[in-house]
């Protein structure tokens, strides 16, 4: 059965075109995906991301558990509120999910995991906790909703709608979070713009969404969320990586420290299997649209596109791709699209940041 977020009725009232996304009935767009995309780059917009699952981890061994569970090093979280992006791997080094972990206090963390993988992730975490006999509790927080407000004017408009949150959230640097009354406000996001991700009790979500609307924040669907994250060069689970893909081949090497003595699930496999591909960006020089699974022909062998779209900001097609190790930034490659072979340029996989084109 399709699941619904607490804002489902609201999306329908706003005229959203709804689609199934990982088993959730979610808004694809509210009229025009491209206009929504531009709104986030130029002003701001808000996304219902309540399908994602917040998981509270608490207990004397919470830190010890995370040190083994995820590939990034949770010891990097020294300050309260600091957030860390990480992959969670299986024993063979495949990516079970990517997630964000927030350090709330000693022995207290909040994880945010993907919607489509939530049940699998929770089962995996519970099994590891039992296996390692550590003292911690894992509590999925389905009683919470999440609204992401992103764009150059996002913060100002959130403060206008929720003035009581300003004092606590204004000093936050990127990738931090703070609790303000009922709200857990984080400076994380999935668009390459500044803004907040606000986690709040589900029963308050409609009221807060309404206040944000009244502050002039436009609702944005998952369609624009995908073009925004792709322009920002951010991976999508299930598309750019999954359980069969090494994080080293999916552009996630920066999140993994193989040198440190710390042991974590998947480390042995990663050490035994060095990277076999580079994860890079493609900018299509010819007319057309790059899509997932298209074949890329380079001077050093073939590669494959994992995500592709038309970039509304750049007005040309962009993609993330797994390419041969010898591929260099700036070289041109050919992409097979239907019966044609089109020319693309290899670039760093971050196309747009804070409204500015980087390629």
């Amino acid at each position: 059965m399709t699941q619904k977020t607490v804002l489902n009725d609201m999306h329908r009232r706003l005229g959203a075109k709804m689609v199934d996304f990982g088993g959730w009935d979610m808004p694809l767009h509210y009229g025009s995906q491209i206009e929504e995309h531009h709104a986030v780059r130029r002003d701001c917009g808000m996304f219902d991301v309540s399908h994602m699952c917040a998981v509270d981890l608490a207990g004397t061994d919470a830190r010890k558990f995370l040190l083994r569970l995820i590939a990034n090093n949770v010891d990097k979280l020294r300050e309260r509120g600091k957030a860390l992006y990480s992959a969670m791997l299986n024993e063979s080094g495949g990516v079970i999910d990517d997630l964000i972990v927030y350090f709330i206090a000693d022995g207290q963390y909040r994880l945010v995991i993907n919607a489509g993988t939530a049940e699998k992730d929770l089962a995996w975490m519970a099994a590891r906790l039992a296996e390692w006999q550590l003292d911690a509790t894992i509590a999925p927080r389905r009683d919470l909703a999440m609204i992401a407000v992103q764009g150059p004017n996002a913060k100002t408009k959130v403060w206008q709608a929720l003035p009581e949150t300003r004092t606590a959230s204004e000093p936050l640097k990127p990738f931090y979070a703070v609790t303000v009354g009922d709200y857990f406000i984080a400076t994380t996001g999935y668009t390459g713009e500044s803004g907040f991700e606000i986690t709040l009790p589900a029963h308050l979500a409609e009221t807060v969404w309404q206040k944000l609307l009244e502050a002039g924040i436009r609702p944005i669907g998952l369609g624009a969320r995908d073009t925004l994250r792709l322009e920002a060069g951010m991976n999508l689970y299930g598309q750019d990586m999954d359980e069969t893909v090494s994080p080293l081949d999916a552009g996630l090497a920066w999140t993994i420290d193989l040198e440190a003595p710390r042991d974590f699930v998947g480390k042995t496999a990663l050490l035994a299997n060095p990277p076999s591909k580079q994860f890079l960006g493609l900018l299509l020089l010819d007319k057309g649209v790059l899509r997932a699974h298209q074949k890329v022909i380079t001077a050093n062998g073939d590669g494959e596109i994992t995500s592709g779209t038309f970039s509304p900001t750049l007005q040309q097609s962009i993609a993330l791709a797994r390419l041969p190790l010898a591929t260099a930034i700036g070289e041109t490659v050919q992409v097979e699209i239907r019966d044609k072979s089109l020319t693309a340029k290899v670039v760093k996989p971050c196309f747009v940041r804070n409204g500015k084109a980087l390629v």
């Binding site: 369609g223 038309f310 239907r338």
Partner: protein, 126 residues
Amino acid sequence: MNIPSNLKYTKSHEWVRVETDGTVTVGITDHAQELLGDLVFVELPEVGKELAAEQEAAVVESVKAASDVYAPIAGTITETNPAVVDAPESVNQDAYAAWLFKMKPANPADVDALLDAAAYTASAAE
């Protein structure tokens, strides 16, 4: 749904207008553009290309996906519309003004077998 009564249609969401010179003009319906969402790329056939009925003639791509446009009847491509290649969004704005290509039918009577507005309305509602 916006389905003008003076046009002919296919189940695959093309509209067809018979011109006074006997050629047919082809585009995608308003319903089709709405299903596809914002169009960002249109690829049109070569003029002179001969196509069978229901053969792939053009490609329209939205942000989300690529979709084939089929020849509604057998015939030869006589003209394509460069304006939609330059501005794919014009199809979203007015699907019946933003035509894609014109064909000379192999057999003019083939047009009669296409759906009328009422039949297309029923078909599109399925």
